[in-house]
């Protein structure tokens, strides 16, 4: 007995334990790298998607991926509000996705992060909305495949406007006024999202300005934009704006639950609103801010990009071609079966019967008539700079001139880096 205890003394037991503890971290470096087990051909691709709000979207994307037989495609469905940060951070690592959805931004091209997709897009170039090709082109090369176009505009309840004796607003002043008249004890007049940032670009366009001009110089720093910022400030402090709602502007909950009479949202939410509110729903563009301005609609959307620094660039390109160029059935399903999106392919848009009449058709009309597409030169840090302008002078009451000057510094620094 004690012979045993003399060999198994305290020290050696502890030594063994420490040895095991030292091995512990090694065991943790297992195979948890977000990829599922090997596919039929042994090749694996990883794709990143932000979490779409509509039911069935995640299953749809995974279903398409499963149908691809040349590689096992794993989908990472990124929830949370900062898809950009997660995407940008992961692109720097070894676990970077091979394929990801994002918006066209030139810094990704300049840093060699996204692959040139001209060879797969060129053959069908004429079938794409020309604006969608232009917004993905740098120096004649096309860097992304547009999947969906998402116009964003106002949704309103005609019954509530009628009851309050309000016409559909055609100027920002009228919108401010309408919000006041529509606000009752239980319903707020207007919902622009919790941080108001969704209307930044529409407000700039409706003030007759733009983010950048054709020479990639600052075009947002105008008297009209300053006027717009002041009007937005008065709207923010009026008490007629729904703020701090549990769901943000991209979710139709606020208008569906009767929390507001007018909500800024996107075409994608149309089916859900129609389901809840029936015919009691209408749409209008962001109204003009100044006399010289014009109504505007932001034609947002999502595109597929291939990670140029990934391990299987050619395979990834092949996959993108297979799904987003060749498989029209899936593209149609993706555009129309969950939320409503406008297909960027002219042939698909022409056959999209769901968008041909009623409210969806009005949405398509606004898209065509007032739509502004992404400018590839307008990058994430410039977007953030203008978000800071809104935060500083609409929500905080700072001086618009000072806030715009501050944004100018950031944007100019960025422009210098990108365009010299």
């Amino acid at each position: 007995m004690s012979a045993l205890s003399s060999t198994w003394d305290r020290r050696s037991v502890l030594r063994a334990a420490a040895g095991l503890a030292a091995l512990g971290p090694l065991a943790a470096c297992g195979s948890n790298n977000g990829r599922s087990g090997g596919g039929s051909s042994g090749k694996e691709l990883v794709q990143y998607f932000h979490a779409y709000g509509e039911a069935g979207t995640e299953q749809a994307i995974k279903r398409y991926a499963k149908a691809y037989d040349k590689a096992a495609v794993t989908t990472q469905w990124i929830t949370g509000s900062d898809f950009e940060s997660k995407l940008f951070a992961s692109l720097l690592t070894k676990n970077a996705p091979d394929v990801f959805e994002f918006h066209p931004q030139i810094q990704l091209v300049r840093s060699g992060q996204v692959a040139d997709l001209s060879d797969i897009v060129d053959p069908v170039k004429d079938d794409f909305n020309p604006a969608d090709i232009a917004s993905h082109t740098v120096d004649g090369k096309i860097y992304g495949v547009r999947m969906i176009d998402d116009p964003q505009f106002f949704f309103y309840r005609p019954s509530l406007l009628e009851k309050a004796g309000v016409d559909v607003p055609t100027t920002l002043d009228e919108l401010v006024e309408a919000a006041a008249k529509l606000t009752t004890g239980k319903v707020k007049g207007l919902f622009l999202g919790n941080d108001l940032h969704a209307v930044i670009n529409p407000m700039i366009w409706s003030a007759g300005a733009d983010t950048l001009d054709s020479q990639n110089r600052i075009a947002y720093h105008t008297e009209g934009v300053k006027e717009g910022l002041k009007k937005m400030r008065s709207l923010f402090t009026s008490g007629h704006l729904l703020l701090d709602a549990p769901a943000d502007y991209w979710d139709p909950s606020a208008i569906d639950q009767g929390l507001c009479a007018i909500q800024f949202c996107g075409m994608w939410a149309m089916p859900q609103m129609q389901k809840t509110l029936g015919d009691d729903i209408g749409v209008f563009p962001f109204p003009k801010v100044t006399d010289s301005g014009k109504p505007s609609v932001y034609n947002g959307g999502w595109s597929m990009f291939v990670n140029a620094k990934g391990r299987h660039v050619d395979l990834a390109k092949e996959y993108v071609k297979w799904l987003w160029i060749d498989r029209k059935k899936y593209q149609e399903d993706w555009s129309l079966s969950y939320g409503f999106h406008i297909p960027p392919r002219s042939s698909l848009a022409a056959s999209a019967t769901k968008l041909e009449s009623g409210l969806p058709a009005e949405g398509v009309k606004l898209f065509g008539e007032y739509g502004h597409f992404d400018n590839i030169g307008w990058t994430q840090s410039m977007i953030t700079a203008l978000e800071d302008v809104f935060a500083d002078c609409v929500r905080k009451g700072g001086d618009p001139e000072a806030a715009l000057d501050k944004a100018d510094t950031t944007v100019n620094r960025e422009l210098k880096k990108l365009f010299g």
């Binding site: 007995m1 012979a3 030292a22 940060s85 940008f88 703020l243 701090d244 709602a245 935060a391 929500r395």
Partner: protein, 321 residues
């Protein structure tokens, strides 16, 4: 007994042999044990602390956007950019405001809870657990509950419902920085989460105060309420109080989750860590500027710690204090 022989033989036999060996061999087992025990931690410290610090210092002199292996040397440009950046310098002010609110409030609340629980005769263990329980809740989960249900801006948010009974208009607690109601949301969330933990520390200290002191004070005519608290309890808790305040300051400095989750897309209410997160790891991925900010922050902390040591004598030996 066979056991004794088994015991004796190995004991006596190898001893002279061991003495004959060179010294380094005899020392070997303890050296090995030393490295075995400290090795993993030293390695972890090296890989996860010192290498990143060095790397960050190196990055701070480079133009490092969307990369951590940059090649454009820019000297002190990143430092200039961060020091001229009002958001970064403002974040230091935000931290000061936050610490000035949360440290005394948590100190007072946890002490009050400890005194309360300490005096209980009934349900003591139960209430102690109840107050301690929030410590187990994650900051992210609490932030979401605070944001979406208690301090939601809609009419059915908890606070707005309660205030509605008194005819007070709905308040946007987080979206509108004027008046700065967001501090109420942030401070109450952290208060709820951490008060229980510090209560336990105070409770332990309270139970260590010898009852003779109170008895002696009672004989000397001190009342059982404020007087004995002021002249006995509080002085006896001094060491714990100092430790609690220090821990609270450290925790306040590390605050990130609630600011990040409650105040997205703002230019205000960002303590330094949140600000640097947005610079380096957010959408801009500017590792150079972010690292420069981190180095500035580190220098500031070193400075403050040295000054604190000088003025408060914290960290000096018992006799020196």
């Amino acid at each position: 007994m066979p056991t004794t022989t088994a015991h004796d033989v190995p004991r006596s036999a190898p001893a002279p042999a061991a003495a004959a060996r060179p010294r380094r061999f005899r020392r070997n087992p303890s050296t090995l044990a030393f490295w075995l025990f400290t090795g993993p931690f030293l390695l972890g410290l090296l890989v996860f602390v010192y290498v990143p610090i060095g790397w960050s210092l190196w990055l701070s002199f480079f133009e490092a956007r969307f990369t951590v292996t940059p090649d454009t040397f820019v000297g002190f440009d990143n430092y200039r950019q961060m020091l001229e950046n009002g958001d970064f310098t403002g974040s230091l002010l935000t931290f000061t405001v936050f610490a000035a609110l949360i440290v005394p409030l948590t100190w007072a609340l946890s002490l009050a809870l400890a005194l309360l629980v300490n005096r209980l005769r009934l349900l003591r263990a139960f209430l102690r657990s109840v107050f301690f329980l929030p410590t187990a809740c994650s900051y992210v989960a609490a932030s979401l509950i605070w944001k979406m249900s208690i301090f939601s801006g809609v009419r059915f948010g908890l606070m707005n419902t309660v205030l509605g009974w008194f005819g007070i208009e709905n308040t946007a607690w987080l979206a509108d920085p004027d008046p700065p109601w967001y501090w109420l949301v942030i401070v109450t969330a952290r208060l709820w989460l951490q008060a229980g933990f510090y209560m336990i520390l105070f409770l332990a200290a309270l139970q260590n105060i010898p009852p003779e002191l109170y008895e002696a004070a009672a004989i000397d005519g001190a009342g059982p309420g404020w007087q004995s608290f002021r002249h006995i309890t509080l002085p006896q808790l001094r060491a714990t109080s100092t430790a609690v305040i220090l821990l609270l300051l450290v925790a306040a400095y590390q605050a990130f989750d609630e600011f990040f989750n409650l105040l997205s897309k703002t230019t205000w209410g960002r303590p330094p860590l949140v600000e640097l997160y947005y610079t380096a790891l957010g959408q801009e991925q500017d590792y150079g500027a972010g690292s420069a900010g981190a180095v500035i922050l580190t220098l500031l902390i070193c400075g403050v710690t040295l000054l604190q040591g000088r003025f408060m004598g914290f960290g000096r030996g018992e006799d020196a204090g």
